[in-house]
């Protein structure tokens, strides 16, 4: 072993460069882990990634150390992860994210003013919660200020931290999903320059709008729009089983007519795709209305600056043509968020690297893993 490599090993750093913490996301059905590192040229690249399904529900997993620890062990041993430092986030249902305006003139500092506002918005005492915030707009004295506040029940936070600690992990930070998404998109924007970006994370039963202005998190909003909602509607309208609907959606998508990869699709296939779109149109219109409302808010907050791009991620983003349909409905560029592997590359560990599931599965885990690897300036 060469001296340099030995020194790296002694410092716990891979020969390629410093590796960051492990980003760990407890998804709805799977645990996602990602770890990044800087190569010899300072470029960020993947060191390891893994996605493993739960044997039960997420809630069952989180309430049982005996279930969680073996799963974590399997996930960590499935790829060349290094260290036990993790950055993670609470499951979406356990965290509330809200935008609040506050007046800091009467308070000792912004934190005290935020707490004052939160006291009136939360049930019980503040001691029952863990609260953190990000200032969004910090005007001069006397002006209303804006912050994105993350709130979680203290008992749930402690339960998760203890679960991780007893499993041998050292939690470096407990974040929120939007912060991880922001970090990933910010890393992507570095290559494109600062932009106002709206990210739509389409979940199973809910979707989340995350608005970024440059590297600032402006807004995080939950919408009652989810992939399952669309599937259920299709099942009921078309009188098809969920499995058949999912297969059809996967095969023809919702915009087959304009899909460059489906030029040889039969007329039946084209019709099926059109039927799916027609059935889902009311849901999509309602969804678009919510998006446009968010866009107006962003325009107001950024004093007229336009939203340059809309990134789509999550289950609905994996549907064929979902980006094109939304682009036509919203009239701004809509893209599927590139997979983290596309953004960072797989680096020196190509041999042990595989994308087992949808490209967007690792977005939050990767965003979490970026903490400490990229600066937040």
């Amino acid at each position: 072993m060469q001296l340099g490599a030995m020194m790296h090993k002694l410092r716990g750093v891979s020969p390629g460069g410093a590796q960051g913490p492990i980003g760990l996301e407890l998804g709805r059905d799977q645990i996602h882990l990602a770890q990044l590192q800087r190569d010899a040229h300072g470029e960020v690249q993947f060191r390891a990634q893994a996605s493993l399904p739960y044997s039960g529900t997420r809630e069952e997993l989180l309430s049982s150390q005996r279930r969680f620890k073996p799963l974590l062990k399997r996930a960590l041993s499935s790829a060349p992860f290094t260290g036990r430092r993790v950055v993670t986030c609470l499951p979406p249902g356990d965290t509330r994210i809200m935008s609040i305006t506050y007046d800091a003139s009467g308070a000792r500092d912004d934190g005290a003013a935020v707490l004052q506002v939160m006291r009136s918005r939360l049930e019980g005492t503040l001691e029952d919660y863990v609260i953190d915030y990000l200032p969004v707009r910090s005007g001069s004295k006397g002006e209303q200020r804006l912050a994105v506040v993350a709130v979680a029940r203290r008992e749930k936070v402690i339960r998760l931290l203890e679960l991780f600690r007893r499993s041998g992990l050292e939690v470096e930070a407990l974040e929120i999903g939007p912060a991880a998404i922001k970090r990933l998109v910010s890393a992507l924007s570095t290559k494109r320059g600062p932009e106002n970006v709206l990210i739509i994370n389409c979940g199973h039963s809910h979707s989340y709008l995350t608005m970024l202005s440059g590297r600032r998190l402006l807004l995080d909003q939950q919408l009652s729009f989810g992939e399952q909602q669309l599937i259920d509607r299709l099942c009921s309208e078309l009188d098809m089983s969920e499995e058949a609907v999912r297969m059809a959606v996967h095969r023809v998508g919702i915009d087959a007519k304009f899909d460059p990869e489906l030029t040889d699709l039969s007329n039946t296939g084209l019709e099926t795709s059109q039927v799916i779109l027609d059935v889902l149109k009311p849901n999509l219109l309602a969804f678009v209305d919510e998006i446009k409302r968010a866009l107006r808010y962003v325009t107001y907050e950024t004093r007229g600056e336009p939203v340059h791009r809309l990134y789509l991620m999550g289950g609905f983003a994996d549907w064929r043509g979902s980006d094109r349909v939304l682009r036509r409905m919203i009239d701004i560029p809509v893209e599927k968020l590139p997979s983290p592997q596309e953004i960072f590359g797989t680096g020196i560990n190509d041999s042990g690297f595989s994308i087992r599931n949808g490209a967007s599965n690792l977005v939050i885990a990767t965003g979490l893993a970026l903490r400490g690897i990229v600066t937040n300036e």
Binding site: L134, P135, V157, I158, L161, A173, L174, E175, A179, R371
Partner: protein
Amino acid sequence: MNDNTLTAEIDLVPNDYRTHFAKVRILKRYASILIPLLLVGGLLYTALRYYTWDLEREVEALQQRTLVSSQQRDQITNLRKVADEFQRQLTMLGRLRSGGQALDMFTTIDRAIPPGDVWFRTWTFRRAGFVIKGDTSEVNRGYFVVIPANSEASSSEPWQIETHMDIKGQARDHSTLSTFVQKLFDQPQIQDVRVVNTARRSYENTNIIDFDMRIVVRSAAGGS
């Protein structure tokens, strides 16, 4: 609530929880350094103690052996002294034995006695300071050589080997006594004659002279 700036990140780990486990981690880190050090120190201490104890035991054994040697040396010295003493006494005894016998001395003295004019009441035969007490009436019983019990006391002094006879007796008169002394001097075996005391004693029809006399006999062991 954590401090935040425009560039800060959200972190929902409670400060008190983080601080507590940061301290625990630091303690564990120090403990992970200190405990092995203490263990190594303890082992070294134990090893040194054992080594020291072993050395002390060896030293003690050596001291014991030295003590035994010293005791043995003292014993040897004492035994040599005893042996020397015995040797010296043996030599002395040999010298003493080489001297004239009491019978010869009486014969010699008898030759000097004027017949019927001097007679002895008691006599004591001494040789070299060792008392040889003979029966006052029986001269033929031989003599005893008495070795002093405290040989140490005299071992360092030169022995004056002297054979002499103390005689208490009576003479008819001073002239007779003088003749007797003169005759004794004439005997070659007699070295010296000292009349210690004379006294006249009167009876009803005669006077006699009581005398105390020491006769020193010349012998082969006459030296020291």
